[in-house]
Amino acid sequence: MLGLIGIRRHDSLRAMMSSYLDEQLTEAEATRFERHLSGCEECRAELDELEATAYMLRELPELELPRSLALASVPDPVPAPWFSQWVPTLATSLVGVLLVALIAGDAVGILSQAQQVEQEETVAAASEADASTAAAGAPMVESAAVPQAALGQANTAADTAAPSAEGLAVSEASADEAAPAPMAPQAALAQEAADETAETELAMGTRAAPAADQLEESTDATEEATESLEAAAAPAAMTAPSADTAPAGTQTEDAAVEALEAAVAAPSPMAALAVEAPPTGEIQRILMQDTAAKIAADQDQVPELAVSPDELEPDEGIALPLLQLEIALGALLALLASVTFWTARRPPS
């Protein structure tokens, strides 16, 4: 242990040897070194060799310069590297001008207006994209909404023409709804469904009750159903008209009863189904309410697919990108200014 401490002390004092030779130690350090030296033969020998080395180095001859190096003329200016002088300065100037222009434009409002125009263009593009998206998604939405509307309108016609034949009309419309033709134009589909329903009603009515007035009323009901169908094309008026509002429902009740009797007489599976079905007045209302609820739900979903211009309307948020750009340019300007300053102040090599 004492030996290890002695070795460390020996090494630390050896590091002072050169300074001791040149009298660069403090008095305390010199005293401590001399105390160690008096008891260390190795250090004394090394000190002698070190002194001899320093002496020989000092005695190295001065090398003669072959000629005078006095300048004959003023040297040319420093051929500085092309990138170290004007590139940082130019870049700093450009960024500075750009930043000032940006801030000035922001303050005046030119850029805000330009961005507003840009935003409007963006909104228009988004609307177009939404239109195409809606066209692609229409079979999903309208195939659910329009047959139900047609169902409601057809049911309205059935109510109008013959309340007892409502089940048949529902069956017809339901058959159309279940038919695998959701990709067909919805208006045509609904029109077709309504026409078929009306024709059925008309045929039934004609067969069951050939009275001319009933036929006319049935025709009126068909026309109303068609108009209601057209109205159903408007998305805001998708709710099916209530059977209570059917104008000719009461008047054609007797004819409808007769039509039902004729339907029973005729061995039509649909008519049989209609007859076997439970009383349909209440069920029909429930179905219509359910359908209206579904349509409303579908309508609620439709706006979610579109991008509302109000949502993209630029307001306070437009300043944020400008601010970020100004901050970024400011930081870049500071960096370039530092580089320019550093290259200008760099001492000669």
């Binding site: 590091a15 002072m16 040897m17 050169s18 300074s19 040149d22 660069q24 020998a45 090394e46 002698d48 060799e49 070190l50 001899a52 080395t53 320093a54 002496y55 020989m56 180095l57 000092r58 005695e59 190295l60 001859p61 001065e62 090398l63 003669e64 310069l65 072959p66 005078s68 190096l69 006095a70 300048l71 003329s73 003023v74 040297p75 200016p77 420093v78 001492p347 000669p348 090599s349």
Partner: protein, 195 residues
């Protein structure tokens, strides 16, 4: 009457070429010897010295006082470092050249009794030992032991602390001592007593 450095610097900063050339005449030998000892190549040292004074003239306006010699030697050191960095193998070549280059073995222009004590072979061995040192130690050793600068001036030249200069010098002298003592037969008689 010889003018002081600050006055010559002031005149040189105002465009007086003759004043600047007085600075050149005063320090060219020291800058040249410093570069030659660091590089081990007298021809390259001459070019480095020339470039040192050209750079000094261009940068004279930025000189803010202090030791003019330290400033010039720093420029020379930096140019020498750049040269060595650009041609790493050049340093190894210069080590070999030092064996054959008679310039490092020749006596000084003012022969003295000590010159006869240090043989040409020993001078070459000393130069080889200097070139074997790391650059930081080499510079300090040449500045203090060969050029005769003070510790403070060496610290100013190398932009290092005084403690760093002492440490580097101690390590450099120890390394040179080990190399030189391998050829004790070349040492002057007064240093061969331990043989």
């Amino acid at each position: 009457m010889q003018q002081e450095d600050p006055e010559l610097v002031s005149r040189g900063q105002q465009g007086d070429l003759s004043a600047f050339n007085q600075i050149v005449e005063r320090y060219q030998s020291q800058v040249y010897n410093h570069a030659a000892r660091i590089l081990g190549d007298r021809t390259t040292a001459q070019d480095i010295t020339q470039e040192t004074f050209i750079s000094a003239h261009r940068a004279l306006a930025k000189f803010r006082g202090g030791s003019l010699r330290a400033w010039l030697l720093r420029i020379g050191s930096n140019l020498s470092y750049d040269f060595i960095r650009k041609s790493r193998r050049r340093a190894e070549q210069s080590l070999d050249q030092s064996l054959e280059n008679p310039g490092f073995a020749a006596p000084s222009k003012d022969p003295s009794p000590e010159d006869s004590a240090i043989s040409g072979e020993l001078r070459v061995e000393l130069q080889k030992a200097i070139l074997a040192l790391p650059m930081d130690q080499r510079t300090v050793l040449v500045l203090i032991d060969v050029q005769g600068l003070s510790y403070e001036e060496a610290a100013e030249t190398t932009r290092a602390s005084l403690g760093t200069v002492k440490s580097r010098l101690n390590r450099a002298r120890s390394a040179v001592r080990k190399l030189i003592m391998q050829n004790r037969e070349l040492l002057p008689a007064q240093f061969r007593r331990n043989e």
